[in-house]
Symmetry: C2
Subunit: 210 residues, 2 copies
């Protein structure tokens, strides 16, 4: 148990760079294996835990009136649904996109830890602020009217030096970009043909990085 805890400790600390997870909070946590497509919680469920993704991928999704999934957030390493800490019930579904594992922190222990550990609190606040900025960037992207613009924007903001290594299928990427998968395939093809993109499997590079 101690070994597992120290495993969490190092992983979680890597993510929240400014501090460590307080010992007592770690001791109250629970390691949860997840299988692909598993729904961890649903919109409306009472908030029982704060989740930290260790491996695999967990998505924050809502559904439109046609039942289509809208992906609001993807977490492959780090907290997910941070905003639920202050809420009574979840505002989205949490769905695993891959097999993996996560840590569940009881809400009560989490709040207690924030109250009593200043470093942890600072890290949490920073985490929330970063999250706000990320989501704003996502809004900015969805505000662009063409598929090509959204693709460029994605590579510029999510990649490094105009290069992105995709960590999801193109179909899933299309959903994140607010496009149908067909529109994404065609836009990628055209951008490649026109010399704006260099595509090699999951590695996609902008030819004219600004």
């Amino acid at each position: 148990m101690t070994m597992i805890n120290s495993y969490w400790h190092s992983l979680v600390s890597t993510q929240m760079k400014l501090t460590r997870i307080p010992r007592r909070l770690l001791e109250a946590a629970e390691l949860v294996p997840i299988r692909s497509t598993q729904t961890l919680c649903r919109k409306g469920d009472a908030v029982r835990g704060i989740f930290f993704v260790l491996t695999g991928e967990v998505r924050l999704v809502r559904r439109d009136t046609n039942g289509r999934e809208i992906v609001l957030h993807r977490a492959r390493s780090g907290f997910i649904a941070e905003a639920s800490l202050g809420a009574k019930c979840y505002h989205c579904d949490l769905v695993a996109a891959e097999k993996g594992s996560l840590v569940r922190f009881p809400v009560y222990s989490f709040r207690e830890a924030l109250r009593e550990d200043a470093l942890f609190r600072d890290a949490w606040t920073t985490q929330l602020a970063i999250e706000v900025m990320k989501v704003r960037t996502q809004c900015e992207r969805l505000g662009l009217h063409s598929a090509a613009d959204r693709i460029s924007h994605y590579i510029e903001t999510e990649g490094k030096d105009g290069i992105i290594i995709l960590t999801q299928s193109r179909k899933a990427w299309a959903a994140e970009l607010g496009l149908t998968h067909e529109a994404l395939y065609r836009a990628l093809r055209r951008l490649q043909d026109d010399g704006f993109l260099l595509i090699d499997g999951d590695r996609i590079a902008l030819r004219n990085p600004k």
Copy 2:
């Protein structure tokens, strides 16, 4: 000065319901009148202050490659650019959309207040979490493919009981919805003609509120 401070105090406290702004932070604050279209700060500027809108409207905007404005957030009463507290420089422009006034809190004093006042800190964290959820809702809206869906979604999430009172021009609303103003006008017209909306000036009501 005392009177002005207590004026801020009541306004700011109304917004941040869970606490008060600490006295020392208020004393370090500065009242700033703003005129319409004034740019308060630009993307890339060093973060000098945290802004709280008292009256008027301030928008958080970025510009796409064509120079078109993308509105990421509108504040008519409350903090704006909260996420900049943890950053070195602003990540968006702040532009006034109306004449009004705001309070500028020096970043240093703000951080100090968060460190030393537990109630204020809790309120701030809650504020950030709420902001995350709001922006996620905005993403969800922009992920919808049709103008009609975005309009309905807006009324359902931003209005009360299926009724929204617009606090901005339709042109500005169109930008917030990620549409051209023409597309918004036409969609509104069609929704009204088809009996889905009841439009009376700035009051817009859903006919089939779910």
